[in-house]
Symmetry: D2
Subunit: 348 residues, 4 copies
């Protein structure tokens, strides 16, 4: 059985995912494509030599008989409608983050999915499929070095352009930490506050950079997450979990080491696209495989999308008010508590 995908949005990540499904992964196939920009959609089909139909709009693509699963890689604001359409049609849907741009939007999706009666939605939080995070998760779950007390992490980009507005530090950058950390330590956020050190001279006038986000969890874990998107030196993701008996940290990025000109060094990535390239592969393969094996996706779900939305909103408010914000989630429905095979278990 092959999972037949319909793709909404053939932009940068849309094309990357399409290449994956066609050329690298097993068990999936692109059969339908649409984009607001119809020319773009047609061009992609031709260039990639796909046996896929180009649809004029989301609705008709979602409705197509041969589409088993919808891949939503349109712009963020379009996600909510795209996902709801897919659920209505009873189709599986893999949606890039964000699930929706508001917590209310996420809630609508949650209700639609629960009405449908089984899980259809997976959100593109690919870090849960990264080898390093998976090893870290395993080390925590094994209680290998005691209970977590603190987490220190950093999300650094060499630089960002004019179009990167201040909110994006939360909504596009921190969002990945927001998702991966509560999963990692299996806890819930309680509050968030944000501090701003001296601004780097490399940030454009409209951007506050760097910033340090402090999250406290219901279990008492104190998380400090640095967001620094003009750090110049590289794309660097760090995460260190301080526990009762020791500390576990993400590995540095795999690199040959060299001794040259008085330096012993390894390479740091400059391009964020390289960092999680394998995680994207595993994520989509896992989406395909769990649907085949159990009839439902078992990766990050709509509830995780909702948690991310609520938390990002609070972090944004904290960024702007200078005050600590409390994070109040609705109660988690049993529907999302039922234990599925975890993403990281799929990798072990």
């Amino acid at each position: 059985m092959t999972l037949r995908f319909g793709v909404i949005g053939t932009g940068a990540i849309g094309r990357e995912h399409m290449k994956r499904i066609e050329n690298k992964l097993s068990g999936g196939k692109i059969v339908a494509v649409t984009d607001m920009n119809q020319e773009a959609a047609k061009q992609v089909v031709t260039q990639m030599k796909l046996e896929a139909d180009v649809y004029p709009d989301d609705r008709s693509l979602v409705a197509a008989d041969n589409v088993d699963a919808v891949l939503v890689t349109s712009w963020g604001p379009a996600h909510e409608a795209n996902v709801l359409a897919a659920i209505e049609a009873g189709k599986y849907v893999f949606v890039e983050k964000p699930l929706a741009t508001t917590a209310e939007g996420c809630m609508k999706i949650i209700k639609a999915e629960m009405n449908h009666g089984k899980r259809l939605v997976q959100v593109g939080f690919m870090r849960r499929y990264d080898k390093g995070y998976v090893q870290l998760k395993k080390a925590i779950d094994d209680h290998f070095i005691g209970e977590p007390l603190m987490v220190r992490c950093a999300h650094r980009n060499p630089e960002v352009g004019e179009s990167y507005i201040d909110d994006m530090a939360i909504h596009d950058t921190l969002i990945h930490e927001i998702d991966v950390l509560h999963w990692l330590i299996d806890d819930e956020y309680e509050s968030v506050s944000v501090s701003f050190p001296k601004k780097t001279k490399h940030a454009l006038p409209h951007l506050r950079d760097p910033r340090v986000v402090t999250l406290e969890t219901k279990g008492g874990v104190l998380i400090t997450a640095e967001v620094f998107v003009n750090c110049k030196y590289g794309y660097d993701i760090q995460c260190e979990v301080i526990r009762e008996e020791g500390i576990a940290s993400l590995p540095e990025v795999d690199s040959i080491s060299f001794r040259k000109r008085a330096t012993l060094g390894t390479n740091i990535l400059m391009d964020w696209k390289q960092r999680f390239i394998e995680a994207y592969d595993v994520e989509l393969q896992h989406f395909i495989d769990s649907i085949k094996q159990s009839g439902e996706p078992s990766g990050p779900n709509a509830w995780d999308g909702y948690v991310a939305a609520i938390t990002a909103d609070a972090a944004l408010k904290a960024s702007n008010s200078g005050q600590k914000q409390f994070i109040s989630l609705k109660e988690k429905p049993a529907f999302y508590s039922v234990k599925k095979e975890n993403a990281h278990e799929a990798m072990l």
Copy 2:
């Protein structure tokens, strides 16, 4: 188009490769299977729920109309006949190492393939597809730190059992260094000698362990390769290329780091199967992709299989005689010199 595989030999690595092709890679499919042990073959087909026919012998499998490519994962001594049968039938063949157990056997295959007129054979030297070696190769090809002068490497296993006889240190262990190093530095071996330090108390009586193999190349590069298969502490592959302006080394295996009980550490693998698990994936995907794109495989070829056989024979002689052995290859046919896209380029 899907590349349809017929598999000869459903043992350990045969099954691993079959799972890859069916569940992880794109563009391949198992349609035919055989094994000397017919029950085993049938069982595999059932367990993996394959839509594949079980054939009574190699010949009939190779002859099957729907078989595009033969995957040879039988025992080493059977490889030569299996490969020759495939060539005769004009089928592509991916053969696990060794290509053949003798240099003469390899030569027969080379002649058959040249007669056929285009390349059909790829040998399972997966290290060329390992991310670390690929980075090392790239650093060398870029002349990033000058010309290679020396290479220091080590191939260590925690332990080996009774069935691991002395020759296997060369034929099963060193063989991977033999292949990957001449590719890495783009040079040819001239001589080999072997020294034996004090034997570890952990080696069984019939085995000399560790040993240090010294290879000299026509270009003057001096290679020392330690083979130590009862090193206890882990499965560890090291390679350091000493150049005119600096040194480049393989990365340590990707691992979270931890601070625990007075130690700052990372994990070393104990199981060799984990070490090149991604390289096996890339290797087979590359086999499928190059056939689709150019009608020929472009990974390690029959000539590489011959080089490995000749060099291993000399290393074995050197192990037993205590003398330096010269390595004399026949002249490399133009057929194998034509530049194909390199394996590592496929990964960049």
Copy 3:
């Protein structure tokens, strides 16, 4: 010329420093000793075979003609009186931290020293003489990777006993970060706040552990300093300075590396006394040398002692109130601004 020391306080660190001066350093000599516990003082003189007189009290020791410099290693609460006595007598004084237990006490010493007209006092903040910090300082002073924006540090002990009361986390542990960080980034503290993550199960009931102290400087640098004194795994001092073009971090403690039992590791110290053992040597040698060369000590001075006292008081208040505390120093007298040769320059 030999600098002749009189020692007040022959406890743990007193004896260590006496051994240094007698057996390891150049140009110093112990000629006088006193301790509240007279028996202890006598015993030390006998055991160490010193040619030194035992005095009945601080006053008489300070007054002794052959005493050039007083080494104050009594208990913290006694320091103020000991130092004032030395200044009054016009003697040099090396005083272990704290200079005095209150900011007022420090101010009294500052006034006495300024009245005297030249610097006499050096405070035992030995980290400024640690090779790692010195390299870090140099990298910052060279503007090697841009201006500092953030500092992340940690001060971890494996465990503390019953007698370690909650205030000591600030007064005895954080105090070293307080001193070394403003020196390192050449900036002044503006505010301090303290957060408490979940308490480790290894801390005794009367102690809040770990805690995270946040310091903001007038220049806008944001410092997070973790104090964790029951971290179990080791004595570990970390410091990372995040700058506009990159990051510089303290080295891990010098250690052979080993590959053993599936781990690639280095050793972490368990005993804090080992960590700065060389820094203590350099510190005292520098005290002796600068007095000989320029007639004044040029290490951490009374003003630094005052800064530490004020900042520690604010951090304590912040620990107890849960509120951010502002740090208001009096204006720095020109007397302490005159540039002397810096401690770290002495090491380069």
Copy 4:
């Protein structure tokens, strides 16, 4: 008691050692100085403001009543005569390597010292006092990871000048490995052979560089020592001991780490003088201390000087003949077998 030194040879290392004794170490003092170049000797005394007499020649300096110990830092060929003169006068002598330029010369010194009846001589093999080697030695002596089987080491300099002739690769460079390795693994050399990889383009015409020296010990340990004195990238000393249960390696040189311009790096030294700067201090302090404590130096002795001479001669012969050379030492006199406190124990 102060050990009063007379110095023969006020060249580069002579002056370094004099500064140490005067300004950094405890318990020593320079009271007499001579140099073939009398002007140089006088200048040093003036510049360093020493209270020391300048002598016209070695004999008169050695004979001076107030000289307790002679520091021989003249040119290598002068050492033998200088040391013999000191022994004859019953004075302690610290002699920079080599003890003598020939094995016969060393033997003469050994006989003179044995005739005298107690040990007087220490040879300047400072690596035994390096923290890294001391930790390595301790790890071996503790049988922490089994018995040594192989040692891999490297001695690399960024570059050497015209005056560095081919023999110096053995006599001035490898000599330190020769001394430190047999001490480290507590074994004796049996044979030596030398291989020459392709010559680096950075070596001058008269020099063969790099070279790989293979030493075999009586205990069966196989040592490969690379000497590469135009390696460009840094001064780098590596040593890895491969044992029955694991591997222990020298630490990399202490350095802050930095993240800058796509590199995570630490600094490698360029200047050899920095590498063992602390070892020189410890070495001379240990010389002073053992004489004070036990009446005899207990560091590297005349027998070690002889071992180095014999082994270096064989390595030179092997370099020139291309043949394996056997190393035959005379039997070690009980005089040198009596266990003294080891250098490295002094550091623990």
